[in-house]
């Protein structure tokens, strides 16, 4: 049964970085990045803060353009996409959440569907479904404004908003940063289920190695704008790369 390597090859590639560099002025924030993300994969981008994780995500949905190389999404380079169309096919949970303060929770979650011209009834049903999904009681939270929510509730709304039109790709930038450990654990579990259930391709940014191991099917370690290590969590644990060792050491992950 020489099937398995072939199957791996057959797996549809959703996002691919080809020798991507990104610089502001003379200094490069990202250098010669090569990455392949297949359909259904849960890729965790791990790295210290300032290492270039957010920038990597923004390259995928065209919020920044590579200064060299190409980012290919669904077989087409980002520069050839209509950026609006590209972004609407990619769910994005931004690091600072970025809810619209003048929109209710319902309007925030329903933002992209309403831009897409959904009918109010369908829209409302979808919003309630999503709020249920992220564990917020719709009747109670839908009419609230962001300033009437706790930090954790806001982050859940951010996730719901990103999922609204069921995008095949999900970019999540430290989405659970401000949560207490228990809530965090709960929502991480929910996300794992979600991803498995919905078959989404997720690119998830964190600097928390425990979170990385819990969620990832593949971990990519970024250090100073370079991809220094790529592999399964098990491979990562065995790695001798000094940056990987440092992450392991400080977090005392049981072997």
């Amino acid at each position: 049964m020489a099937k398995s390597p072939k199957l791996l090859q057959d797996k549809e590639i959703v996002v691919e970085f080809q020798d991507v560099s990104y610089g502001v002025g003379a200094n490069n924030l990202l250098l010669d990045l090569n990455l392949t993300i297949s359909k259904g994969e849960f890729l965790v981008l791990l790295g210290r803060s300032g290492s270039g994780k957010t920038t990597t995500l923004k390259l995928i949905n065209h919020l920044v353009m590579p200064t060299a190389g190409k980012v290919i999404v669904h077989g087409r380079a980002t520069e050839d996409w209509d950026p609006i169309q590209l972004r609407r096919s990619i769910g994005y949970v931004i690091q600072e959440i970025g809810l619209f303060p003048h929109f209710t929770v319902e309007e925030n979650v329903g933002l992209v569907p309403s831009l897409e011209g959904w009918k109010p009834k369908t829209l409302k049903r979808r919003v309630y479904e999503l709020l249920d999904l992220v564990g917020l009681e719709p009747g109670k939270f839908a009419p609230r404004y962001p300033h009437q929510l706790s930090g954790g509730q806001r982050q859940r709304v951010g996730v719901a908003r990103a999922l609204a039109i069921d995008p095949p790709i999900l970019l999540m930038d430290e989405p659970f940063g401000g949560l207490d450990p228990i809530t965090r654990w709960e929502i991480q579990q929910q996300l794992r289920h979600l991803q498995a259930q919905l078959g989404k391709t997720v690119i998830f940014v964190t600097h928390d190695i425990q979170e990385a191991f819990l969620l990832a099917t593949k971990v990519s370690l970024i250090s100073e704008g370079k991809l220094v290590l790529e592999g399964t969590p098990t491979e990562f644990k065995r790695s001798q790369h000094p940056e990987a060792r440092r992450f392991m050491a400080c977090c005392q992950i049981p072997q």
């Binding site: 950026p83 609006i84 609407r88 931004i94």
Partner: protein, 517 residues
């Protein structure tokens, strides 16, 4: 309630009650049109420069510079500008719109620029287009600050609109200018109080709107309200421009901004109305000699009454001459050649500069002439109008001729406030006009110009020649006015208006009834 009573009783006890309503309406319309135009330009411009940081500096700098120009200077400048300039409501609206621009542009710009960048990033990341981001996120979030800008601009405009009267823009400033020039506090209040109430009302309403629109919720209702307001403003604007159809068989008479000038303007107007079929529009209380001159030159007004001495020295920039006939000849010729203006025959009296002191001083010190006064002036304070201080034939020459020195540098004062200041002993000597009705009333006397320093100032109608060619009936109609008015009659009419607070039209009508021509 007391205030309301006071206002109402004032409104009906003075003869200007109806006019207050009219001027308030004019004032509101001026401000509303100017604000609508300024909003239509300022807010889009403020938005555009958030997208173009380099342009932002230029635009904000320019708007800032406009704000620092004194309003009278802008009005003066606009007189000679075609289409948007001249005199009347149009340049007034243009100037008001210009002043309103800065707060609008600046607030729109800062309101949008200061939105948390992560919110904008989130919107872009969700796939909003630039337009969607602008209308659904940036403008709603900046709305409070934008409306605060509208609020500031409106309150400023209500104030500046009072100056529009200087170029015949109407509004409540008409009362204020007339009140100042006639030393009539009631008239000043008739302009100032309604203007203050408009400003207060606008501030309260826009403050409420600001709060209403920035509280969360009911976004549909909010847009509805904004839509209704926009439609109302546009309707108003179209209505006004629709009403302002160009007047065909109408001629416009102007006047400078003091009582005698308004009376003389009214005399010309009533004479033309009586002797011809033309309709006369009155553009009185224009802001000074230069504004009148520019306006009659370009045909914004068709005629006004000038004084030969003023024409010679202030307009033609020539040395003062003492022979009245010679002055008249030179002025008539030069106006004809240089400006295509016809100078008609003198109305019969002279209004020369008059150096005025209190009667009690004159009696105590026993002085009648300027030469006699020279020995006392070092203990006196003087107050002069701006024109008198600046003009060649004004203070500098006078001081030289008589060797006058004063305790302090002569104070620059408004023409209208000068007599009051003299009577109340804030100054001891002022330069007024020989026909001022207030001189006998406030117990003041004119010092004799014994060295014949002041040139003759005969009152002469000045008319645009194109108008005279088009309406040939005007010249013969006004010919009857030559030599028609004596200095005493002029003083009397000035007194009726200044001190008896009688309407100019009524005083002039009575004059014509008593002295048929």
């Amino acid at each position: 309630m007391i205030i309301v009573d006071l206002i109402l009783s004032n409104l009906f006890s003075i003869p200007y009650g109806g006019e207050i309503l009219l001027r308030t309406g004019e004032h509101l319309i001026l401000v509303a049109i100017a604000m609508t135009i300024a909003i239509c330009i300022g807010i889009p411009l403020g938005i555009v420069i958030t997208r173009k940081p380099k342009l932002a500096k230029v635009v904000l700098g320019l708007a800032n510079a406009i704000q620092t120009i004194p309003s009278l200077a802008i009005f003066g400048f606009l007189i000679s500008v075609p289409f948007i300039g001249g005199i009347g409501k149009v340049p007034a609206i243009v100037a008001l719109s210009l002043y309103a621009l800065l707060p609008l542009i600046r607030n729109t710009y800062t309101g949008i620029i200061n939105i948390d960048p992560t919110i904008r990033e989130a919107g872009r990341g969700m796939g909003m287009t630039d337009t969607q981001l602008l209308f659904q996120v940036e403008i709603p979030l900046a709305l409070g600050i934008i409306i605060a800008g509208i609020r500031i601009a409106t309150v400023i405009s209500v104030g500046i609109a009072t100056i529009a009267a200087a170029i015949g823009g109407g509004g409540l400033g008409v009362f204020i200018f007339r009140g100042i020039s006639t030393v009539n506090t009631q008239l000043i209040l008739a302009g100032a109080i309604p203007s203050a109430f408009i400003a207060l009302g606008a501030d309260l309403f826009l403050g409420w709107l600001e709060r209403y629109l920035t509280q969360p919720g009911q976004s549909k209702q909010k847009y509805f309200l904004l839509g209704v307001l926009a439609v109302l403003m546009t309707g108003l604007l179209l209505g006004i421009f629709g009403l302002q159809n160009p007047h065909t068989e109408t001629i416009t008479i102007g006047s400078k901004n003091f009582t005698e000038q308004v009376i003389l303007g009214e005399i010309l107007a009533q004479q033309i109305e009586a002797e011809t079929d033309l309709t006369v529009e009155r553009q009185f209380n224009l802001g000074g000699t230069f504004i009148c001159h520019e306006a009659v030159k370009v045909g914004q007004i068709d005629g006004y009454v000038e004084y030969t001495g003023t024409a010679l020295t202030a307009i033609l920039k020539q040395q003062p001459i003492t022979d009245p006939k010679e002055v008249y000849r030179i002025v008539k010729q030069a106006y004809d050649k240089k400006f295509q203006l016809t100078v008609m025959k003198s109305l019969g009296f002279e209004n020369t500069f008059a150096i005025v002191i209190r009667r009690e001083d004159a009696q105590n010190l026993n002085i009648k002439t300027l030469s006699q006064a020279a020995q006392y002036t070092p203990q006196w304070r003087a107050g002069f109008g701006y024109e008198f201080l600046a003009r060649k034939d004004g203070y500098p020459g006078l001081a030289k001729t008589y060797g006058l020195k004063f305790k302090n540098t002569p104070q620059q004062m408004d023409l209208g406030l000068m007599y009051k200041a003299l009577a109340e002993k804030q100054v001891d000597l002022v330069a007024g006009n020989s026909t001022d009705g207030l001189i006998p009333v406030l117990k003041l006397v004119v010092l004799e110009d014994d060295k014949k320093y002041f040139p003759p100032y005969e009152a002469v109608p000045v008319f645009n020649q194109e108008t005279l060619a088009k309406y040939r009936e005007i010249e013969p109609a006004l010919a009857n006015l030559a030599g028609f008015i004596t200095a005493e009659q002029m003083q009397q009419m000035n007194y009726e208006v200044d001190n008896q607070l009688r309407p100019v039209a009524e005083v002039v009508k009575e004059f014509f009834t008593k002295n048929p021509n």
